[in-house]
Amino acid sequence: MKLTCLSKGDGFQYPPCHILNLCGFRILIDCPLDLLAITIFSPVPCDVEASEYSSLDAQNPVQKKQKLEREMTPADLVCAEPWYKTVKALHLWEVSLIDVVLISNPMGVLGLPFLTQNPGFCAKIYMTEATAKIGQLMMEDLVSMHMEFRGFYGPEDSSFPGWMKNLDREEVPALLKKVVFGESGDDLGSWMRLYSLDDIKSCMKKVQAVNYAEEVCYNGTLVMKALSSGLDIGACNWLINGPHGSLSYVSDSIFVSHHAKSFDFHGLKGNDVMIYSDFSCLQSTELTENGCNSPDTATNSEKKDENLAASLLDTEESLEELEKLAFVCSCAAESADAGGSTLITITQIGIVLQLLELMSNSLESSSLKVPIFVISSVAEELLAYTNTIPEWLCKQRQEKLISGEPSFGHLKFIKDKKIHLFPAIHSPNLITSWQEPCIVFAPHSSLRLGPSVQLLQRWRGDPKSLLVLEDGLSSGLGLLPFRPIAMKILQCSFLSGIRLQKLPTLLSVLQPKRVLVPDVVNQRINLTEIKTNSILKYSENKTLRVPRITANPDVEIMAELASKLSWRKLRQRENFGIARLKGELLMKDGKYRLVSGLEQEESSGKARPLRHWGSVAPETLVDALLKMGITGSVEHSTGEDGSEDNRIIHVTNPSSGLIETSEMGTTIITDDENIASQIFQAIDGILDGI
């Protein structure tokens, strides 16, 4: 098998992307979009106040980094209909040669229509049903938000993007160039114009949605299974079983989640190869102080195993997450108290759902009368959907559904008109129910698309208002067009993967025979102390070849076929039995199977052995021949080099013939067919054969 990491991604929004070569099949894992990259574009201006830019923003992190550069202004941003940045290295692969696409979470779907729109695309796409549904909604939302740009800039007629023309000029800020051209300067080809609704539809038609832990078989050879990763609703890790062993793909995972079904350990245990593809640790600055304390794996008793698993499932981490959520809520309440509004632009659905629930609850218990708005073209459908998928939710929420309550609390608040859903900011009813201060959940987290842009432009000057952002956005170009900002800004970084210090424990629980770890992750943690696993390192845009673990694949022989075998005993080897096997080799559910073939009857007639081993002593042969009524005499001839290895038997009666025998073989020389077969029988009686 071979693994090529095409992109290590960047956080929750931009998951990693790999190509895996397994059993001769090419498997693409995830097809994301780098949505942060669209921050190079200028948002659709809503008012004329774009000129109010003040250049004295000492907090600008951009300035700190590039002291030599002149400071970037909103005018530097590209004023054009945005294009979208896909995984660069993916374009170097011939699309028609991809056999399977596996998607591990809804963010991994976003770039898929770019791939499926290619006429050569013929791969089978697998994703969980929840991922398919949520992914589709997110893509549709993206397209609908993008429409605003189309409306503003008008249809673009040439296929060449005009905005790219001027970007290589000297005066263009380096930061912008870096995003557009990439670090190595060749990213230009990865920019694509956004797909249409039709593209999404035809893409989703090609998807085979799988249920939780459903086994699907590709081409009879690969059996794939999606197990929850805990990251978000519908997000999964993949387990692939083939004739050459088992492989698990571990994506960004969360062990204990308060919304999605928690990380599924059991299916991932004891695999031959594990691909660890959780790059989330690169997002955080936390370092593991003393490398790793490799858990003692000397005694691998059941109990020990459970203890280890339990240590992964400790609630400390998840409590921390709950605290973060509560903090966001309290901040929102605080600003509402002061008469300011809150804008929340978080993408992670699970987080949004939990925040909605928490906020409505806390608002209800307090005296504040602050409405909550969710403005998104897909909000209604998405919120309704999340209450119909118990199999993808955490235990507590499953229990809720089973006892007849909705799994997420928002339904009641929507009914009570505490939460208002609107498809767009210009929805007709929005203005009648609009009331400030309020709390608004609105996409998009890049702050370039969707209702968040208008709302930010509205509130940015209000020091009482609050903006809740995903981490990593403010340091880049994200807030540039909105500066100066008087608004309070709360950056949240929610847990979106496995904490690095838990990796050693995870490995000792799962006990994979081989682990593939990204080199960037490996640099941060010392894994050498883990003895039980062999660790291989992979890096972005390099192909790692992984040698096979199991020597030979298993074959299942149908009992029917096995009962027909004619066994041959071997001389001097009582422990052995050998038999000729003729049948049809099939591949089913990732296993070889040998069944009775068409030629079975035909072959049973030819029971004559075709391969022999051992050696023929001429004297024994002469004796054997004599018993059959054939007389012959042995003549020792000396070989050309003087060694005596060629012996000849002259056959005289009933007809003449010659038998030449050596260590290598025996030749029967005669023109008499009958004698020849009799001699052969005699030889066959002396040698072992099959």
């Binding site: 249920n211 939780y212 832990a213 459903e214 086994e215 459908e381 309704a384 209450n387 119909t388 998928i389 199999e391 499953q398 559904l401 089973i402 007849g404 020597a551 030979n552 694949p553 298993d554 074959v555 299942e556 022989i557 009992a559 096995a562 071997l570 080897r573 422990n575 052995f576 039995g577 050998i578 038999a579 096997l581 003729k582 049948g583 049809e584 080799l585 070889y592 199977r593 073939g597 072959s603 004559r608 052995p609 075709l610 081993w613 050696s615 010659l658 260590e663 290598m664 073989g665 025996t666 030749t667 029967i668 020389i669 005669t670 023109d671 020849a676 052969f680 030889i683 072992d688 099959i690």
Partner: protein, 611 residues
């Protein structure tokens, strides 16, 4: 390796479904139901047949419940809380959600109606449900090292599954109750082609064959419409989940279309609550409902209201869905008592009624009076309408499923003996599959599939996938590619068997190959008559004529057919020449291996004739 199928319930009857199957030593209990028509100890499956000591945990690997009907789940709290089974129990998410409602409802009815002592308490139900592990459709669950289970959509009621179980190489399917046609709110049963040793199928309608459902739906709607138009009250006794939703969707739709304002009532909070569940379990409903639900939830009925006891005697027409079905007890029976004497009224009975219930008495014949359980008699002057759509498959559906799955054996349960027997004959004669109809307490045994496992060498696998083209040229050129796996199985004591290519055998055995071949230097022609190359050509033409289907390679003074190799012999005296033939003339020195023994002689004969 064997499969034993022990019938604890629903053998040659309907009620208390419970089948225990032992596959290669693993015991699995499918369903754990109670009999609705029995009051005595017969209402529960005879668990003592399973274990004399009562240590069920040791006996059973797991219990799987197919759906929430009482005759499939009714005995579960008794078995876990009273008999003390503590092992894993599996059921689908909807079944896990709805079973406790059904059990609690039934418990209340039993205690209220007959003043019977409680068979299980509310706490029992709650504790029992805690042991349940929920499963999703098609989710493959590894119960233990060997046992694998999976549920497929059965369509019978929301959350109903057919269960696939596999231990080692042996696999079975237990269908539970299923429906092969889509109805308004549920889809049809859906399963994939599987290799099965045994199929255990329900056979409620083993001889019935149903036509289209539309005339039956129309009939029902017209009957209800006629009743309410005449000022009568229509009573539809049904269980809270399943037919109630189906008929309600039908009526609600009809009411909209015909603009009827007569109220439709649901008797108990249970049904309202059930509708709430349906809304959340939308992924288990039919495709049609699933697609619509984003815009309008079809379980939000526009015309349906909650029923109040005081409304029984209220004037004016109405439609009432009352629990339980079959008029076996409770509220529906109470309403029946009041409404049955009026000829204006209607009782529409959906689905199957178990023998012994009032529903069953109404359906069989046209009684004018009916005995209620406590001895009171009721005059029946109202109209009786049997709603002939049932969520069970008909005989054709059972045959279709059996044919599709093509199992090695079939066992029929959950049916009435005479019709089961005729279906058994049909399966045996038409599909040629052995079929069994065991009674309660009987065990049927089967041998199961086993595979012999071996590791295969790469050379063998490669040789299997190398093409084996055959050309036949009768009228048109036919090319066939029948790849046969040709290998050698090597078995060594206490070691895993190996499959190797024939060339590898000696290597595996640590022996040296010894090639046995034949040779003969054959006279071809007299002295110096023609060029050598022409001679080879001439010979190969001759060989093609006589020996069909061979490919001859010629090169210089050689020709080769398979392992047969002939070279024009230049030696004056060749050891391969027989003594009689003189050294005069042209000789072809031939050599071939034993694999081509016959072929070699054929060619020699051709050459000899040519001489």
């Amino acid at each position: 390796m064997a499969i034993d199928c022990l019938i604890l319930g629903a053998g040659q009857e309907i009620g208390k479904s419970c089948v225990v199957v032992t596959i290669n030593g693993k015991k699995i209990m499918f369903d754990c139901g109670m009999h609705m028509g029995c009051d005595d100890h017969n209402r529960y499956p005879d668990f003592s047949l399973l274990s004399k000591t009562g240590d069920f945990d040791k006996e059973l690997s797991c219990i799987i419940i197919t759906h929430f009907h009482m005759d499939h789940v009714g005995a579960l709290p008794y078995f876990t809380e009273v008999c003390g089974y503590n092992g894993p129990i599996y059921m689908s998410y909807p079944t896990k959600a709805l079973s406790p409602l059904m059990l609690e409802d039934y418990r209340r009815v039993m205690v209220d109606r007959r003043g019977e002592e409680e068979l299980f308490t509310t706490t029992h139900i709650a504790n029992c449900m805690k042991k349940v592990i929920a499963l999703d459709l098609k989710q493959t669950i590894q119960v233990d090292q060997d046992l694998q289970i999976r549920g497929y959509y059965a369509g019978h009621v929301i959350g109903a599954v057919m269960v696939y179980a596999k231990v080692g190489d042996a696999a079975i399917v237990y269908t539970g109750d299923y429906n092969m046609t889509t109805d308004r709110h549920l889809g049809a049963a859906k399963i994939e082609r599987l290799q099965l040793d045994l199929l255990i199928s329900e056979s409620t309608y083993a001889t019935t064959i149903r036509g289209s459902k539309y005339p039956r739906e129309r009939e029902f709607l017209q009957a209800v419409h006629k009743c309410v138009a005449g000022g009568g009250k229509a009573l539809i006794p049904s269980f809270a989940l399943g037919r109630a939703q189906e008929l309600c969707m039908l009526l609600d739709d009809y009411w909209e279309r015909m603009n009827i304002k007569v109220p439709i009532y649901f008797s108990s909070g249970l049904t309202i609550q059930a509708n709430m569940y349906y809304k959340m379990l939308i992924s288990w409903t039919s495709q049609n409902v699933k697609e619509k639900h984003a815009t309008h939830n079809p379980f939000d009925f526009k015309n349906v209201k909650d029923f109040d006891r005081s409304l029984i005697h209220a004037p004016g027409p109405c439609v009432l869905f009352a629990t339980p079905g079959m008029l076996c007890a409770g509220f529906s029976l109470e309403v029946f008592k009041h409404w049955a004497p009026s000829p204006l009224n209607l009782v529409a009975l959906p689905g199957y009624s178990v023998a012994g219930t009032v529903g069953h008495k109404l359906m069989s014949g046209k009684p004018t009076t009916v005995d209620l359980y406590n001895g009171t008699k009721v005059d029946v002057r109202c109209k009786i309408h049997q709603v002939a759509f049932s969520p069970h498959t008909d005989a054709k559906g059972i045959m279709d499923l059996t044919k599709f799955l093509s199992p090695k054996n079939v066992v029929l349960v959950h049916g009435e003996k005479p019709s089961m027997m005729s279906l058994k004959d049909k399966i045996t004669s038409e599909l040629n599959i052995p079929c069994f109809v065991p009674a309660n307490g009987e065990t049927v045994s089967f041998t199961s599939t086993t595979f012999i496992k071996a590791t295969a060498s790469d050379t063998f696998l490669k040789s299997c996938s190398s093409p084996n083209f055959k050309f036949s040229n009768s009228t048109q050129l036919h090319v066939t590619d029948q790849r046969t796996a040709d290998g050698v199985l090597v078995v060594e004591k206490n070691k895993k068997s190996k499959i190797v290519h024939q060339d590898e055998v000696s290597e595996v055995l640590n022996e040296k190959n010894h090639e046995v071949s034949l040779a003969y230097c054959c006279p071809v022609k007299g002295k110096g008559e023609s060029e050598d190359v022409d001679l080879i050509k001439e010979l190969s033409e001759k060989i093609t004529e006589t020996v069909s289907g061979t490919q001859i390679h010629e090169s210089g003074n050689c020709l080769q057919v398979g392992s047969f190799k002939g070279t024009l012999c230049l030696k004056d005296k060749c050891v391969h020449r027989s003594e009689i033939s003189s050294s005069e003339g042209v000789f072809l020195c031939c050599n071939w291996s034993v694999a081509d023994l016959e072929l070699g002689w054929k060619i020699i004969n051709v050459i000899k004739q040519n001489l």
